[in-house]
Each structure stands twice: as C-alpha cells, then as structure tokens.
C-alpha cells in the first residue's frame, strides 16, 4: 500500500515534469520553428508601437535570448529553490515554489494561484454536491421506473444537459435569474466563505446549478445505466429474498454496486474541476483558476499558463491516485499493486 502510493507519487512528479516541458515546448519551440526571434516573443509584452530598444530590453529581462533549455532550467530551479526578482527599485525573494512572475504585469504567479484556489474549489465543491445528489437520485429513480414519464423527462433533460454548452446555459441563467428576476447574483460576484458564508452561497448558487446541470446529466445517465445493470444482478434477488425492504435493496445493494464506476468518474471530474472550471468561471466571470488560465492563455502569459497547468495537473494526478485508493476500499475485489 505505502510502496504503491510512493511509486504513484514518483510517477506523478515525472508526469508533472513532462507536462511542464510540453507546455514550455508549445510556447517556445513551436513558434521558434516558425521563425520567431526573441524579439518576436518580447513584442507580445510591450506596449503599442514599442521601440526596438524596448523590445530588446524586455527580451533580455524575460530571458528570451537564452536557449529554451536554459529558460526551462531557470523555471524549474525557481520551483525547487526559489528565485530573486528585481522589480526596479529593489529585489524581492520569491519563495519556493516560485512559479515566476507574469510576463505582462509582473505579478508573482504562485500567490495568484493560492488566491484563486478557494474560488474554484468552492465552485467545484458546491456543484459536485448538487450534481451527485441530483444526478444519482435522478438516475436511480429513472432506472427503477424505466420507461415511465419521469424516466423519459429526466433522460431528455439529461440529453439537453450534456449537449447545451455552458456558455449558453450560463448566459441564459444570468439574463433570466440575475438581470430579469433579480433572484441571483450578477456575473463576477464572489465573496470569501470566511467573510460571509451566506453571501458566498448566494453568489455561487447560479454557477453551481449550471455547472451541476451539465455534470448531473452525465451522472444521471451513468447511474441509470449502472442501476439497470446492477438491479438485474443475482445478488439483488438474494437481497430481496432475505426480506430486505425495497429501499435497502436499492440503496444498500443496488446503488452501492452501481456507484463504483461513478466514483471513478467523479474523482477525475472533480480533480479536473478544482484545477479550473474554465467555461463556468469565464461565463460567470468568477476569479478562479479556470478564468485565470483562460486569461493567461489569451495573453500568452507563459508563467501564468505554466503555473495553472502544473497545478491542474497536480490536482488530476492526486485525484486519480485518491480514486484508485478509494476504489480498493469500495470494491474489496480490487487489490493495489
């Protein structure tokens, strides 16, 4: 067990290294192959009609004149041992893990990520609770009443849920509930949980529901399929033959078995989400990791892109590890090796 975890963690670190290298390569190597010079890179981070001298200064400051390998090493070194940063009138120590400073507005990346994590985490957590409850219970009821009006309505809605893009549903919900009916908070509303839990929930309820709708749809369909399968299993008949109440049969025996594949999906979904719910955050203008990522990409702001990519990768890797460990707990037939 412990060796398994250690081995997985080593694998995770290796994966992070690969992810960071690939991100770096996409950023530098691909344009370089297309003929981009250090000045061409630098010209993204200067003002309009900047002079060649300015562009050269910036190319030098951002290190674009060095070979990519050297730049990568510098980046990696910052993460491991920290870095010094000259902001003009003084020098600042950027502590471990130093993910560097924005190419564009010279803000340190790591504090930004820490600042934005609670937003994304709040969004993911609330949505996850809603979609698990809504999706799984809908799926269970649909499976038990297969072919009924409820089943058809639920599965129809689920189809809409997985097919409608969130930037559409998000925009519609905002226009209707926030600006039309004044029931919910407008886009971009965010309050820290510690500051005011009520407001925190009020601001997030719409994004939660919209995001949950998307996932609930998938989970409802998956749960329904899983339940249809498990409810036909022999052990369900056994449970009934024991004289268990139908609710116990469904929940304790049927759902328990149907939940296992859902758990896997959930772990990965959640891991990916806490790395940034890109579409939801940008639709609702929530200052989370996803919005951060999309803005960083739009601005070609490599340190930010690297930071958020690595963080997301960490979450995904951790989530898949936790899923695997949980899987062994949930399904006693699984052995970790």
């Amino acid at each position: 067990m412990l060796t398994y975890v250690i081995r997985r963690l080593i694998g995770a670190v290796a994966m992070l290294v690969v992810v960071s290298m690939v991100t770096f390569a996409i950023f530098f190597v691909v344009p370089q192959l297309a003929g981009a010079t250090p000045e061409a890179f630098a010209s993204r981070y200067v003002g309009r009609a900047a002079t060649p001298e300015t562009v050269q200064l910036i190319a030098e400051r951002l290190g674009f004149n060095d070979p990519v390998v050297v730049q990568y090493a510098r980046f990696a070194k910052g993460i491991v041992v920290g870095a010094e940063y000259d902001y003009g009138t003084g020098v600042e120590h950027c502590p471990v893990p130093c993910l560097g400073y924005s190419f564009l507005n010279q803000q340190p990346v790591w504090p930004d990520l820490l600042d934005r994590m609670p937003v994304t985490f709040s969004l993911a957590l609330g949505a996850a609770i809603i979609w698990l409850i809504a999706g799984v219970s809908t799926g269970v009821v649909s499976a038990l009443r297969r072919g009924s009006f409820f089943d058809r309505l639920a599965m129809g809605t689920a189809l809409a849920g997985v097919s409608l893009p969130i930037f559409f549903t998000g925009m519609v919900t905002l226009v209707v509930f926030s600006y039309g009916l004044n029931l919910t908070a407008p886009g971009g509303s965010w309050t820290d949980f510690g500051e005011n839990p009520g407001e925190w929930a009020y601001n997030l309820i719409l994004p939660w529901i919209t995001l949950a709708f998307l996932f609930a749809a998938t989970y409802a369909r998956l749960t329904r399929a899983g339940m249809l399968e498990t409810m036909g299993e022999d052990y369900i008949r056994t449970a009934r033959a024991k004289g268990l109440r139908e609710r116990e049969v469904v929940v304790k025996h049927g759902l328990r078995a149907a939940l296992t594949p859902i758990l896997t999906l959930f772990g990965l979904d959640f891991g990916l989400l806490i790395g940034g719910a890109v579409l939801t955050e940008s639709t609702y203008s929530l200052p989370g990791l996803g919005k951060y990522a999309i803005d960083a990409i739009a601005n070609n702001d490599l340190p930010k892109v690297m930071g958020v990519t690595l963080l997301t990768a960490c979450f995904v890797v951790l989530a898949s590890l936790i899923v695997d460990l949980l899987y062994a707990v949930v399904d006693p037939r699984v052995r970790l090796s």
Partner: protein
C-alpha cells in the same frame, strides 16, 4: 425507438422553454424606474453632441467593468485609451482634453499646468508652470520635480515596458541614460529642467509642435520619488487626482474613494461627482453587455463598443438602441498595399487595387455602418483636428470602378491582372470577411488573391508586421487597423506613414515608403502655427493616397451604451469614448 423519440422531444421542449425565457428576460430588462427614474428622454446618439442627463449631484457609487485588464495602473506604464481616460480619476497631467462634447473635445486645456505649454527655440523647448495648491493624496505638495521624476522614471522601458515612448524619443536625454530608477543621480538637464518647484521645461532634440498633446499622456502624472516602488508601484499609485485607491486586487477588481487632499479649486475640469468608483476586471464580455443593458453596471471601460451578440439584440430594439451612441472614432481599418512585393512596386498596380476595391462590400464585411464604420476614402478619419475628407479614387456608389482599375492595370503592364497574397488576422471574423470581399472584388479585374490568416497575437511581430516575412512570402495586401494616440495629424498619421519608423518587426505600417511623405511629416511636426500645420497633414494624407500604398477601408465606429442612471454622459472626441471624469450617478 419510440422511447428515443420521446426523450428527444422532451429535450426540445426544455430547450424551447429556456430560449423563450431568455428572449423574454433579455430583450426588455428592468424598466429604468427600478434603478432610479430617467427623467431625460433616451435618444440614439443623444450623447454625441450634448451632455446627456446633465447633473451636479454628488454621491453614489459608479460601477465600471472591463472584459480584460489594464496593462498597468501605473501612469508610467500604460498605453490604453481607456486607461488615459479613466486614470484621470487618480492622476493629473500637465494638460488634458477639454471635457466637452463635439469637435472642441479634441483640444487640450491645462490641468496641472496653469496654461498650455510655451514653446521656445522654435518649438525645441516647452515650458509649463504648475498651479499652486496641488497635493498628493498624503498631503505632500506636488512640485515640478515630481513631474520631472515621473517622466524620467518612465524612460526605463525595462521596468515600464507598456507606456508610450514619445518622450524617450523627443527629449534630449543624456547618452546611455537608463531612467530615474537605475540612474538616480544622473544629470538630465539636457532633457528636463525644473528651475523652481512650479516650473518644468522640456528640451527636445528637434522642434515638435504637438507637444501639448504629448503631455496630456500619463507620463507627466507626478510620482513622488520616495513612494516609487518600480514594477510594484501599480499596486498602489499615489493619487494626484480627485480619487485614490481604497482597494486594489490586480487582475480582479479595485475601488477608488475620494482623495481628501485634492482641491477642486485647482481643477476646473473634473466635477468628481460619485463618492466611490468600483471597477471589476476580467468580466465575460457578453455578460458585461447584458449587465450594462440591465443597469447592473454603468460603464464598459474599454469603450470600444458592444459585442456582436449584444449588437444583435440592441440595434433592432428601439428602446435599447435609444440608449446608445454611435460615434466615428479616430481609428482606420485599412489594407496595406505593399510595394515590396511585385508587381505592387508599380504605383499603377497599387492604384488598380484602389479602384477595384468594392468599399460597400468591405463595409458589410465589418458589420455594416453601425458596428463597422463609415466608408473611408482617405487616411485621416473625421474627428482629427483639421481633417479633410477627399476621394481620389471615386466610384459610383463606392462599389469600385472596374474600367479605371483596368486602365491602371494596363498602365502597369499587367492588363490581365496578377496574383498576390492577402493576410489577415485569422481569429478576427471581420478581417476574414474583409479578405473574402477583397478577393471577390479584385477578381473582377483579374487580380487573384490568395488569402492567408495568421494568429492575432503574433500578427505584427511575426507575420504582417514583419517586413522580412512579408517580402519572403510575397504578401501584397495586409489587413490592418490603426487608432491614433491623440486627435491631430501627427498623432494619427506619423506612426503609419513615416517610412523611418519601419523596423524589423511589430510594424503597423510597412507599405508607405515615400520620401515626399516623410518630408511632409517633418515639416508638419515642426510647424507651430496650428492652421498651417493642419494643412500640411492633409497634404501628407493626399500624398499617401496618391502613392496608393494604403487602401482605406473604414473609419471605425463604435456602438457605446449609456449606463442606466448615469449623469453627465457624453462622447469626448479626445478620449474617443465617454469622458469618464465627468460621470455621476443619479
């Protein structure tokens, strides 16, 4: 099979429900009554020529939102029009645009200075005298030394990469000067002198007439040296204007509150109506428009107009359209006709392109008159002081003159036309449409275009703004856009017609390479008499059109929406958007 159909039908029903809810809620948002009654009649373009909903009422919170982010809040490190406009809440510069609607708005008036600059040595020195009683937010007096320091620190492009370089270029800086941060004790008397605390003298390398326009830019906003924290100064800029920072979360939001040390007696230009100003950053652009329509926010900061999604909703709805203004802004959409690429090296071939272009379909490509702009027949847009409108390549209904184009083709030895490549920014649907429109209209005279899209982020650095790439790849036509830094001939034209500004990469112009044009630029730049100067710029415009190396497409228009319950709102030509410093809330 039956089951499948049923669920599809159910999904359709849900979708229809949502859509109808959307249409019902989106089209007619809350009546103004809910957010404060609008006493004034809403009317299309009501904010163009007069002050809309004038008021002197103070108080309230003015809410701004931005779909992106500032380059920097530091006055020495910013180069966006909205930043210049908005920044006047927390900084004051030597001069500023006259805060009025209509053509007078593109004239500058004194701000920190008592009067406009006094030129000396035929425009090689400019002297300003500061008003008395000026203070920073911490109560320390503002002196000419603070202005001098601000300009000298902004020289350092390594720390402040974003700001304009005009003063770096114009002033006679010591050799190898690195800016006030790195060269703390350097003697910069050759560039700036401050004989006393009220006086500042700028010394130029050569005469320059438009200097009053230069010093309305935020490089002249005073910065107290003791509080300067270099790249971190953006986190807390020390205010010299009527408001100061209360909170500032970079990339997210900030708020401004009244600066108790700002003395309204020194500032006739700013009424400073709201008590508080809130700014939200990185707001989804479509959501921003919806919120502006609904009255949840007051102003869309970038001031470049609404998104296509909102235009589709606003223009057909008289009530919503009545809340908008549709000014022609000092921005030109144009196509570089590049003489480096044969056969466009021959002026007749370039003129053939001018004649063949169908300006109406080009306008359609940009979304028509309201969201695209006015058909441009010369380079300088209306709204630039002294502009003249002329059309050297006329055609019936602007649809292009095939006969004339063929004549020109014959004159350049290509009677059957030729082939070339046209570049555009692939992620801009309008430029793509423009390229397609050009492909069609030029095909009528036998000029065959091959269209090539490039990513916008690297368009100027690597592709269409890179002379070597252009030559090597035979790009004859390139879609471009240019907006002026300030509304006079120099501000608009110099960067796109002066061949001496062309460099290795990052060019907005690489087609106008005409020594006659360069000569006119030099003459006009130095001419101190405004009327004579304006005429020289019109001459330069004519020369460029004669050279046919720029094909003007549109003088851009933007569709701006006035906020619900906002007072004193009008379009200012100098800012080329609403004058933010004038706004109040009901």
């Amino acid at each position: 099979m039956r089951r499948k159909t049923a669920s599809a039908a159910a999904a359709g029903a849900v979708l229809a429900l949502v859509l109808s809810a959307c249409g019902g809620g989106g089209g007619t948002p809350q009546e103004p009554g809910a957010k404060g009654a609008d006493a004034v009649k809403q009317e299309f373009n009501a904010g163009l020529t007069k002050v809309f909903n004038p008021s002197t009422k103070k108080g309230g919170t003015l809410k701004y939102a931005h779909s992106g982010n500032w380059d920097s809040l530091d006055p020495g490190d910013t180069y966006y029009g909205y930043s210049f406009n908005f920044g006047r809440y927390y900084w004051r510069t030597l001069t500023t645009y006259k805060p009025v609607p209509g053509p007078e708005g593109n004239q500058v008036v004194p701000d920190l200075a008592e009067a406009l600059g006094v030129p000396g040595d035929e425009g090689k020195t400019w002297t300003y005298k500061l008003k008395s009683g000026l203070k920073f937010e911490d109560g320390t007096p503002i002196t000419s030394k603070d202005v001098a320091y601000a300009v000298a620190r902004s020289f350092d492009k390594e720390v402040f990469a974003h700001g304009p370089s005009y003063l770096n270029e114009l002033l006679d800086w010591p050799k190898d000067y690195k800016g006030a941060i790195k060269d703390k004790d350097a003697d910069i008397k050759s560039a700036i002198e401050t004989p006393d605390d009220q006086t500042i003298v700028f010394k130029l390398k050569k005469p320059f007439a438009s200097f009053d326009y230069i010093v309305q830019m935020p490089m002249t906003a005073p910065v107290p040296q003791a509080k300067d924290t270099g790249a971190k100064y953006q986190e807390h800029v020390i205010s010299s204007g009527p408001y100061m920072f209360e909170t500032n979360e970079i990339d997210k939001r900030f708020t401004l509150v009244r600066n108790p040390n700002w003395d309204p007696a020194t500032d006739p230009n700013r009424p400073a109506l709201p008590d508080k100003i809130e700014v939200q950053l990185q707001v989804n652009a479509d959501d921003l428009d919806n919120r502006l329509i609904a009255g949840d926010i007051h102003v869309d900061i970038p001031g470049t107009g609404m998104q296509p999604a909102a235009l589709g909703k606003v223009l057909p709805d008289p009530a919503l359209k009545g809340r908008t203004d549709n000014p022609t802004i000092p921005r030109l959409w144009f196509i570089s006709v590049i003489p480096d690429v044969a056969p466009l090296n021959d002026v007749h071939c370039r003129r053939a392109v001018q004649y063949a272009a169908d300006k109406v379909s080009n306008q359609t490509a940009y979304g028509g008159e309201f969201s695209g702009g006015e058909i441009a027949t010369n380079v300088m847009p209306p709204g630039i002081s002294g502009q003249e409108k002329f059309d050297p390549y006329p055609s019936a209904g602007f649809k292009g003159d095939v006969a004339k184009a063929k004549e020109e083709l014959a004159a350049c030895g290509k009677p059957d036309g030729f082939e070339t490549i046209m570049s555009f920014r692939a992620d801009r649907p309008r430029e793509k449409a423009l390229a397609e429109a050009m492909e069609q209209s030029l095909a009528k005279v036998g000029i065959k275009l091959t269209l090539k899209g490039f990513p916008a982020s690297d368009y100027f650095s690597n592709y269409a703004g890179n002379p070597e790439y252009v030559k090597k790849n035979g790009i004859g036509l390139a879609a471009h856009g240019w907006g002026s830094d300030w509304p006079d001939g120099y501000g608009f034209l110099q960067a796109i017609i002066d061949s001496r500004t062309i460099r290795d990469a990052g060019n907005y112009n690489l087609s106008v390479k005409n020594t006659d044009v360069d000569k006119l630029v030099d003459q006009a730049s130095a001419e101190l008499d405004q009327t004579a100067r304006e005429k020289l710029w019109v001459d330069a415009d004519k020369k460029v059109m004669e050279d046919a190396s720029i094909l003007p497409v549109l003088w851009a228009k933007s569709l701006l929406m006035r906020g619900q319950g906002v007072t004193n709102q009008f379009y200012n030509e100098g800012q080329s958007m609403y004058d933010y410093s004038m706004l109040g809330v009901q």
